[in-house]
Every structure is written in structure tokens, then in C-alpha cells.
């Protein structure tokens, strides 16, 4: 079965999740991956959206983090202050799943501004839950499409902290959580180098070349000693993902 890079990204990201995980889900690519995991190999995964919905199991992908179906299918829905205090800050989230506008090789994320904060070239939405998702989740997974505009050596604004300048920078700021441990893109899987904490390619998706990698990332791409090939999507994975997307498009009408 043929598949798109987008599909490969979502499926590769979904594979990272386990039924035991309690996942704080960002909207967009993370949401698709998390729900695909739930609909395939991780049926018991707990998905949490910052709107307060805990243990939600939507039949279609939500358009926002506060869609009615998230509440309808949740185990329970708590207030937003409780969500951030008891559930995120309380240390109960195993995986924070984030996207980004700009990402640097140490997993630091910018979703605040392009340009100067006081006089931005582009005013982006801002951090929302991300600053504390990044510091309080047991680990952080990041998923986004590779591009020279997005994968930059230096981000314009530290919306949320990954590994800072690398090494033990997180620990020096008093963080006891692992920070970004996986980066799943449309072309590859990355993990931080155990020492430097700089993202290193650990697997290329089927057919992806190192040239493509260099052309789609504005930092120097480094590779792990053994670079694997990501297993191609199985027919079952593709089928479930496509059905989910089709249900979503049907439900959200012109908006999907």
C-alpha cells in the first residue's frame, strides 16, 4: 500500500505510545497520532486534553482542544485550573505530545513570535499549555513536518524549554523530568544524543535519503551510529488512520 509522508509521520508517532501512557495531547498532528495509537495497538491509553477532558476517546478527531465529543467520551471532565494543578503539575502525565512552529536541535520550541517579541514579524498564538507541559510531563514527544523554516538552529523565542543548550541544562534549572525524548517527522525519527541532548536521526522513513534530510532542516543533521529504516505503515495502520480521517472530514463538514 502506498502512503504519504504525513501518514508515515502520524503512524510512526502513534507507535511510540503504549496503553499504559497518560498522554497530554496537543491539537493537530499530536492529536491524530494519539488517537491512532488508541485505535490500534494502545487501546487503553489515557488521553488528556487541556480543556479538562480526562480519558477521552473521540470517534472523530476534534477540531479544537475543547470539542464536545472529547467531553462526551471522557471518563470525567475537570476544570482547567484543576487540569493544570492536579494532573499536569501533579506529575501524572507520562507523555506530553507537542507540535511546534520553530524547533531547534535541542528540542526547544517556539510558538510565540517570529522576529522580535516586542515588534514581531509574525505574531504566533503563544504557548498555551506548552511551557508547563514541557517541564512537568515525564517525557515530551514532538511531532512536526520538516522544513528549513521550522527546523532552525536558533529559535526566535523560547516558548517551551527542551534541553536548553544541551547536556544537563534541564537538571540545572531544577527539572526532574526527561524533556524531549522523541521527535517524529514526516521523514525520520530523532532522539536526543545521550550526552549532548542534540537531536540525532535514529531512523529514516522508507525511501528517505540523507540529501532530503539536509534539504529540509536548517541545522546540521547528525546521525546515530546505527540508523534504522522505519517500518512502513501496515495495511491495518493505514486503514484505521484513513477511516479516522474520513470520519473526521464527514463530521466537521466544510471545516475538515
Amino acid at each position: 500500500m502506498t502512503f504519504s509522508p504525513d501518514e508515515m509521520m502520524t503512524i510512526a508517532a502513534a507507535r511510540m505510545l503504549r496503553s499504559e501512557d497518560v498522554c497530554f495531547v496537543g491539537i493537530g498532528a499530536p492529536s491524530a497520532a494519539c488517537n491512532l495509537a488508541r485505535l490500534t495497538h494502545a487501546p487503553d491509553i489515557t488521553l488528556i486534553y487541556e480543556s479538562g477532558t480526562i480519558g477521552t476517546a473521540p470517534d472523530v478527531l476534534p477540531l479544537s482542544i475543547g470539542d464536545g465529543e472529547l467531553c462526551d467520551t471522557a471518563l470525567t471532565t475537570v476544570s482547567v485550573p484543576e487540569m493544570f494543578r492536579y494532573w499536569l503539575q501533579g506529575g501524572r502525565v507520562t507523555i506530553g505530545f507537542l507540535g511546534a512552529a520553530q524547533l531547534d536541535p535541542f528540542g526547544n520550541i517556539n510558538t510565540t513570535v517570529v522576529g522580535d517579541y516586542a515588534a514581531p514579524k509574525v505574531r504566533l498564538p503563544g504557548g498555551g499549555g506548552a511551557p508547563e507541559i514541557a517541564s512537568h510531563s515525564g517525557e515530551v514527544y514532538i511531532t512536526m513536518k520538516q522544513s528549513k523554516r521550522g527546523f532552525v538552529p536558533k529559535i526566535d523565542f523560547f516558548t517551551s524549554f527542551g534541553h536548553g543548550t544541551g547536556g544537563d541544562h534541564r537538571a540545572r534549572l531544577g527539572m526532574t523530568t526527561k524533556g524531549p525524548t522523541k521527535l517524529i517527522t514526516d521523514l525520520a525519527l530523532w532522539e536526543p544524543d545521550p550526552e549532548t541532548k542534540r537531536f540525532t536521526v535514529t531512523a529514516l522513513h522508507p525511501g528517505v535519503t540523507r540529501e532530503q534530510m539536509a534539504d529540509s532542516v536548517a541545522w546540521d543533521v547528525t546521525y546515530a551510529a546505527d540508523v534504522a529504516e522505519t517500518p512502513a505503515p501496515t495495511p491495518d495502520e493505514l486503514e484505521v488512520l484513513r477511516a479516522l480521517k474520513a470520519r473526521t472530514a464527514a463530521a466537521h463538514g466544510a471545516a475538515a
Binding site: 479538562g52 482547567v80 485550573p81 498564538p125 511551557p131 471545516a255
Partner: protein, 284 residues
């Protein structure tokens, strides 16, 4: 004490130029009808507070009513950026807007502290986050037991909080169900509380631990069926997703924006909301 009055009078009585106002609702139950009424009455120089300034604040900012924005995530949910907000921040059109930016955790804690009558909220946050360097209201306190530095932000105390809720009983007690967001905290933190509701009923039919605002913490209740559109009211009508998508195109152009506001806000009334949600109703 909750007074049942029409929306025009409720806004005129409780929302004044220069006030700090919070229109809250976390994707769900966003008080669009009340926001439109503020726009129609041209109440300006406002400090607008909201965790997620989305379409309703894009409209108010685009109409030049905001002097300052206190927020943590400014986006059109499920669609993208807010084009009127961008125009104000990037090009000062129609007027410059001052920004006080926080994280969701900080805003939620700050409302909670406001509801709890405290001067500030204390939490673990902003670790390594650059907002702590650009937002002067982010400070810290030291735990007297462990020595840990914790983040502190001032409590939010809006002059007025405006929310939309499913229903009130005849005494003016208000029920909020489903994604309850930060509305209870935003209401209890405010000096004045305005609520629009879908309907008034004899009995709220609420479970024992429901999210209810007693009538004696509310100043005004206005019945505006559909008043959350294009947001939704759980149990009443669905979210109008196409309207959110369409907003992106409308807001992309200053003239298109003005024309749309003219037609759908300035020359409209709260009563128009009922028709907007008619095709989205999940219960009659």
C-alpha cells in the same frame, strides 16, 4: 443578587470604558452574544482578559475596543492564527494593543487565586520559558520549607466577567456542564458577573456536585438562546465549525472584516443568535 435583564441593559450597566473585562469559555460556551453587545455599544479602552482569545476577541480587537490584552493562547481553534489580533500587534491597526502574556497554567492559577481572594497565585511554572523574561508580572516566591523557587503571578480580578451557561433557575442560580473551563473561577474572581443563558427553568436538574454559581454571586442574567454561537452549548447545540473556518477568510482583509461586522454584529441583535444555531441544535 442575580437580576434578570435584557442583554443590552446588562452590558450597559456593568461594562464601562476602561474596565478590565474577562469573557471566558474554553472553546465551549464562549459568550459571543455578550461580546457582540459590547461591540454594538462601542465600549472601548478595555483590558481584555482571556486564556484563549479566539474569534470573539479578534472581533473586539479588530473594532478597536482593546487597549490591552491579557492572555495565554491566541488562536482560531482548529484553524490557525487570529488575523485581526495580528494586525493590531504587528501594525497597530486600528489601534495599538498592549500585551500581557502568560502560560495557561499561570492564567488558570491567577483566576483561581482571584476566586480565592488571594493577592497572587503560586505554582511551579515557567521553568526555562522566556515569557518569564518579557512579562513583568511574573515573579517568584521561595518555599519556606524546601527553599524551592516557585512562580508567582498576580491574581486576576476582572472588573467584570462575562460567561455563557446552559441554564438558570428562576432564583438566578446558574448551571454550567461539560467542559467547564475556567468560568467558575473567572466569575468568582470578578467584581461584577454577567451571565447569558440558553434558558430559564424551574429546576436545574443538576447532580449533587455540579458546577453551579449561586444567584448571590451573580449580578445580571440575560436569556440569549444560541448566545455562544459559533461556539457551542453542550446539550443544546453543536459547534459551528464552518463558521470558525470562514472567519479566517473574513478576518484576512480589513474591509471584508468591517463589512462582516456591519452586517452580522452592528446591525444585528441578541435575538439573531437563536436562528444561527437552529440547524446545529441537538435538543429542541
Amino acid at each position: 443578587m442575580a437580576e434578570f435583564i435584557d442583554l443590552r441593559d446588562a452590558i450597559a450597566r456593568h461594562v464601562r470604558p476602561g474596565m478590565a473585562v474577562a469573557l471566558e469559555g474554553f472553546t465551549h460556551l464562549i459568550p459571543h452574544a455578550a461580546g457582540h453587545e459590547i461591540i454594538r455599544q462601542g465600549i472601548g479602552e478595555l483590558t481584555l482578559i482571556r486564556m484563549t482569545p479566539d474569534v470573539i476577541y479578534d472581533q473586539m480587537i479588530g473594532m478597536g475596543l482593546a487597549r490591552k490584552l491579557v492572555f495565554s493562547y491566541a488562536g482560531n481553534p482548529g484553524v490557525g492564527l487570529l488575523r485581526r489580533l495580528r494586525d493590531a500587534v504587528e501594525h497597530n491597526w486600528p489601534v495599538a494593543v498592549e500585551i500581557e502574556e502568560h502560560s495557561h497554567a499561570a492564567m488558570a492559577n491567577a483566576y483561581e487565586a482571584g476566586a480565592a481572594g488571594l493577592p497572587c497565585a503560586v505554582f511551579r511554572g515557567y521553568l526555562g520559558a522566556e515569557l518569564a523574561e518579557v512579562t513583568p508580572t511574573i515573579k517568584s516566591v521561595t518555599c519556606p520549607f524546601t527553599g524551592e523557587d516557585l512562580a508567582a503571578v498576580p491574581a486576576l480580578r476582572p472588573d467584570a466577567t462575562v460567561i455563557h451557561a446552559q441554564r438558570a433557575d428562576r432564583a438566578g442560580n446558574v448551571l454550567i456542564e461539560g467542559i467547564v473551563g475556567v468560568q467558575k473561577e473567572a466569575a468568582l474572581a470578578a467584581r461584577a458577573v454577567l451571565v447569558t443563558v440558553e434558558e430559564v427553568v424551574d429546576d436545574l436538574e443538576a447532580p449533587a456536585n455540579a458546577c453551579i454559581l449561586p444567584h448571590w454571586v451573580i449580578d445580571a442574567i440575560s436569556v440569549v438562546p444560541g448566545g455562544a454561537h459559533p461556539s457551542y452549548a453542550h446539550g443544546y447545540y453543536d459547534r459551528d465549525n464552518p463558521a470558525y473556518t470562514a472567519w479566517d477568510g473574513i478576518a484576512a482583509d480589513r474591509d471584508a472584516f468591517r463589512a462582516w461586522m456591519e452586517a452580522h454584529v452592528l446591525n444585528a441583535t441578541p435575538a439573531d443568535f437563536a436562528a444561527r444555531v437552529a440547524p446545529l441544535r441537538t435538543r429542541p
